[in-house]
């Protein structure tokens, strides 16, 4: 299980490639479900030039670890990886990466989505958007179901 909150840009596919090299039981894995959330250049009809991702250091990591542990308790999983960016972000930058490895696809799909929905609704991150002439806080996330 790997949980990372990072101010550095990350490349999700390279992160996954590197992580898979150290999977303990590679030949027991039949399924991997992945979600990557990236920054869009538009929100609620306005062009967004950049974004600042604030978080609650300590609580964020603890909360993400708990989500991942909860998913592992609920489904039979081989591994879970979560990476979340903080700080200054520009359009097309990856913001979040969630990956779940399991024996069969149902577990991987369900656990990946569960982790994302929990992260979006409970992990303490906040986005402030830089528009052309002003900055504004994003007030709520769109529902995922």
């Amino acid at each position: 299980m790997s949980i990372t909150v990072t101010p550095a840009p990350f490349e999700p596919w390279e992160t996954l490639r590197a992580h898979e090299l150290q999977l303990a039981r590679r030949a027991k894995v039949g399924a991997c479900a992945v979600f990557v959330g990236t920054m869009r250049d538009i929100n609620e009809g306005d062009g967004v030039r950049a974004m600042t991702l604030e978080h609650y250091p300590g609580m964020t990591e603890r909360h993400l670890e708990r989500i991942a542990a909860e998913a592992k308790a609920r489904w039979s999983l081989e591994d879970v990886l979560v990476v979340h960016r903080v700080g200054e972000v520009t359009p097309a930058d990856p913001i979040v990466l969630v990956a779940v490895w399991s024996g069969h696809r149902r577990e991987a799909f369900e656990a990946c989505r569960f982790i994302m929905e929990d992260l979006k609704s409970k992990a303490p991150f906040w986005k402030k958007e830089q528009l052309d002439t002003q900055a504004r806080w994003v007030e709520h996330n769109t529902p995922g179901h």
């Binding site: 609580m59 303490p124 991150f125 906040w126 402030k128």
Partner: protein, 79 residues
């Protein structure tokens, strides 16, 4: 000891406080703490509360040394 109080995101900007401390009183709750730190304005219903980095209700009973955070709805995770 004392209670450490933190505000995040839009709430931090509105209130103008990032971190502060407040003397502990027996029976103290996050709701009561808020009214001491933000006088004249009761705790808004959509503000989330964490005690020692765990979500808690506004009437959670605090212990001396606790860290209490107030923050708006969370908005992480990309699209």
């Amino acid at each position: 000891m004392a209670i450490t109080v933190k505000f995040f995101a839009s709430l931090r900007e509105q209130i103008g406080i990032e971190n502060t401390t407040q003397p502990f009183r027996e029976g103290m709750t996050p709701a009561a703490l808020w009214e001491e730190v933000v006088p004249g304005q009761p705790l808004p219903g959509n503000v989330l509360v964490a005690v020692n980095m765990e979500y808690a209700g506004p009437e959670h009973l605090l212990t001396d040394g606790d860290e209490v955070a107030f923050f708006p709805p969370v908005t992480g995770g990309g699209a």
